[in-house]
């Protein structure tokens, strides 16, 4: 099967699985703490969770960009599982030459101020420190994180921690009640093979890849919000006609559509960059722009829906609460824009601002992960 055909097939499969398993009850139950095992099992059994893994390892061998496309599809359905995080963890494990395995995985988001220290202990390691706001940690079979090797000048090591090994998991959540847990390690003992020096992936690349996940998710959720809006505007009647016939409503929805398109473009940019070295300027530009689209778009979506959109019962909030969370996770405008801006100022000082802007997202440098 050609790569394209395979990607399309997986995409169709994903749409089917997600449509079957992400109904309102599943979403609501997940927010109450239930783990949607049937959804996860369906994703796993159809090979979606291993999309990135090479065929030899039982995966589909998709490119990073195509795998992120699947993550966007899951976000459109607000799938309450760490599907994107599992893709992220798989990417890290493959890049570091570590084995992949089934089960939900997650990645600690390298929050500023988090310090995880790895010391040698006997034949293995001892891990100390707290990883904050780890997505879905309580449900993850394995947490992948970056820690400093104490005996090795603090050089970053990629560490895989299996479930049940962490000292304490303190529950937290984002606005969509997706788990964002603090995970504390008090000298947790790990076997030697649990940690390796990652090839070319440091804190910056981790943060950027995580941002790329949230960008494609924002694009997915915004596409969903737009669909809900258009359907609602055609069906809701006031003053004797569907509200979608009022020009004020049309103009707002046109603006929402443009924001959704901008988010989709940002997602394309991020997906390409994530597959080619995680350029922080490209991903940072995309994260900031997608976050802006999330803000503007969610506001319009609620305005168009009136009070019904403000209810728990109606589906819109499952998308908008995610938008309001994802726009900040793995860095919001305050984190990414100044980095980009400083690079632009430096370029302008050398009279090459345009070449700097037009170069962003154009250099397909080979990935340190060696993925295609």
């Amino acid at each position: 099967m050609s790569d394209d055909a395979l990607t399309r097939l997986l995409h169709d499969t994903a749409e089917r699985v997600l449509a079957d398993h992400c109904d309102r009850q599943v979403l609501a139950a997940a927010e109450e703490g239930a783990w949607p095992e049937p959804l996860w099992r369906a994703l796993e059994e159809s090979g979606l969770t291993l999309a990135l893994a090479p065929e030899a390892a039982g995966g589909a061998g998709l490119s990073v960009g195509d795998a992120l496309g699947l993550v966007g599809a899951a976000a459109r359905h607000a799938a309450p599982v760490p599907f994107g995080e599992t893709v992220f963890a798989t990417w890290l494990l493959l890049g570091a030459g570590m084995a992949t395995a089934p089960g939900p995985m997650t990645v600690a988001p390298v929050m500023r101020g988090d310090r995880l220290v790895l010391e040698r202990a006997g034949g293995g390691w001892r891990l100390t420190g707290t990883a904050r706001r780890v997505p879905w940690a309580r449900h993850a079979a394995r947490v992948v994180l970056l820690a400093e090797a104490a005996e090795d000048g603090g050089r970053p090591m990629l560490v895989v921690v299996p479930r049940g090994t962490a000292g304490e998991v303190r529950h937290g959540a984002n606005l969509a009640m997706e788990p964002r847990d603090d995970v504390r390690f008090d000298g947790t003992v790990l076997p030697a093979e649990a940690a390796v020096a990652p090839a070319g992936v440091g804190p910056a690349a981790m943060r950027a890849f995580g941002a790329a996940l949230r960008i494609v998710q924002i694009a997915g959720a915004l596409a969903r919000a737009l669909e809900l809006c258009v359907a609602y505007a055609q069906q809701r009647v006031q003053f004797g006609r569907p509200i979608g016939r009022f020009q004020a409503v049309q103009q707002n929805l046109a603006a929402l559509a443009s924001e959704a398109a901008a988010a989709a473009a940002a997602a394309g940019l991020a997906a390409e960059a994530a597959g080619a070295g995680c350029d922080p300027l490209a991903i940072g530009a995309a994260k900031g722009r997608a976050a802006e689209a999330a803000s503007t778009g969610a506001a319009i979506a609620h305005q168009v829906h009136g009070a019904i959109g403000f209810t728990w019962e109606y589906a819109l909030n499952f998308s908008t609460r995610r938008l309001w969370s994802w726009r900040d996770e793995f860095g919001n405008e305050a984190e990414w824009y100044p980095q980009l801006g400083a690079a632009m100022a430096a370029a302008a000082a050398e009279d090459r601002l345009w070449s700097a802007i037009s170069g962003i997202g154009m250099a397909a440098s080979p990935s340190p992960q060696g993925s295609r």
Binding site: V230, Q251, A261, E333, G341, A345, D351
Partner: protein, 386 residues
């Protein structure tokens, strides 16, 4: 909602090679670093000499067949040349309309004679066009156009009426005139229009310059008084011009012109705040603008790719224009919140004259080439709401 899909932008090594050639050419032509404001008015400037040199390089009529002086290159390559010209603030206003929309219109709907007569000269950078659509009583609603051409016994047409806001009418060789030749019908309010290729030297055409708020006089009222046009001036089928107009407007709206009009101000800002280290606040603002541009560029390159693939990305073009003009109209306020500057067109201080120019031109960004509201109506139509 497939009408709203943006295809992934194509990647082309030739286009990137071409980009370097264009940059080298522009460095030679324009130098690097700040340049004084172009006194000819309007953003960008009007320079027949520059247009001819571009033509000589083969960068006009790029996508047209060679037999009409074109170069049979891709839309993406044309896009690259255009965005480099815009980013360098090159004086493209002489040839831009002809290259962007009038030439392609003639290529698609014109007679062989019209194509032979005009296209090679456009591609050489020698022949300039103005747009004869708007009238005093017909702006957004072009179906209200009243200028009328009537057939003359013995051949040809007689035109009477007034066009307005016609950019560079006095410096252009031809106008594509959109006017009435028949009546609208019950079923079709868009019936009865015809486009003509009008030689601006034809007797009976009077051009009255109109001064704009920036003090420039480059748009005009164009009055037609018993102007006689030959039958050979008709473009396409008489009575059928509405369809032609729609495709011309799509060309007018889809380019990168719509988010690179104020780029010079951004460059000036970045240079001004970047001396030394930019503050966190300044870096944030620069980053925000750059991020928006990066994403708009991607959308715009996608439109170029869709044109190349023979698609008709009308709604996508409207989205790029709406987002791009909104971004650029916000730029003066970004500058004002970072720098203490008083706008002055004639100031020696670069930032003061650059911001003055954009403040005064910005209102037109979301009016010309289709107002923001009209674009959004079109997007809403794409959403199935109209």
């Amino acid at each position: 909602m497939d009408a709203l899909r943006f295809a992934p932008p194509p990647i082309s090594a030739e286009a990137e090679t071409l980009r370097q050639e264009v940059r080298a050419f522009l460095r030679e032509e324009l130098g690097t670093g700040p340049r004084p404001r172009d006194r000819s008015g309007t953003l960008g400037g009007f320079s027949p000499a520059f247009s001819r040199r571009l033509g000589a390089r083969g960068w006009l009529g790029m996508t047209w067949p060679k037999r009409y002086g074109g170069h049979e290159r891709s839309y993406l390559e044309r896009y690259v040349v255009l965005e480099e010209l815009l980013a360098a603030h090159a004086p493209i206003n002489a040839h831009n309309v002809a290259d962007r929309q009038s030439g392609p219109l003639l290529l698609r709907f014109g007679t062989e004679e019209q194509r032979q007569a005009v296209l090679p000269r456009i591609a050489a950078g020698e022949c300039y066009f103005c747009i004869g659509m708007s009238e005093p009583d017909a702006g957004s609603d072009l179906a209200g156009v009243r200028t009328r051409a009537v057939p003359v016994p013995g051949g040809g047409w007689r035109v009477n009426g007034t066009k307005i806001w016609t950019s560079y009418a006095e410096r252009c060789h031809y106008m594509i005139l959109f006017c009435r030749t028949g009546e609208r019908t019950e079923q079709d309010r868009h019936a009865g229009f015809t486009q003509f290729l009008v030689d601006m030297k034809t007797p009976g055409i009077r051009i009255n310059p109109i001064r704009n708020i920036a003090g420039d006089r480059n748009f005009n009222e164009v009055v037609f008084e018993d102007v006689h046009l030959p039958d050979s001036a008709v473009i396409g089928t008489p009575g059928n011009a509405w369809r032609q107009l729609t495709s011309e407007l799509a060309l007018e709206r889809s380019g990168p012109d719509r988010f690179l009009a104020a780029f010079k101000l951004f460059v000036t800002l970045a240079r001004a705040v970047g001396r030394g280290e930019p503050s966190e606040r300044a870096a944030m603002a620069l980053g925000r603008h750059a991020a928006n541009m990066v994403v708009l560029r991607r959308m715009s390159r996608s439109v170029a790719g869709m044109l190349q693939a023979g698609e008709d990305p009308v709604v996508q073009g409207a989205m790029v224009k709406d987002l791009g003009t909104t971004l650029e109209q916000g730029l003066p306020d970004v500058v004002r919140q970072l720098l203490a500057v008083e706008p002055d067109l004639d100031s020696d201080e670069e930032i003061a004259s650059a911001i003055a120019e954009i403040i005064l031109h910005a209102p037109s960004f979301s009016i010309r080439g289709g107002t923001r509201e009209i674009l959004r109506n079109g997007i809403a139509r794409g959403l199935g709401l109209r």
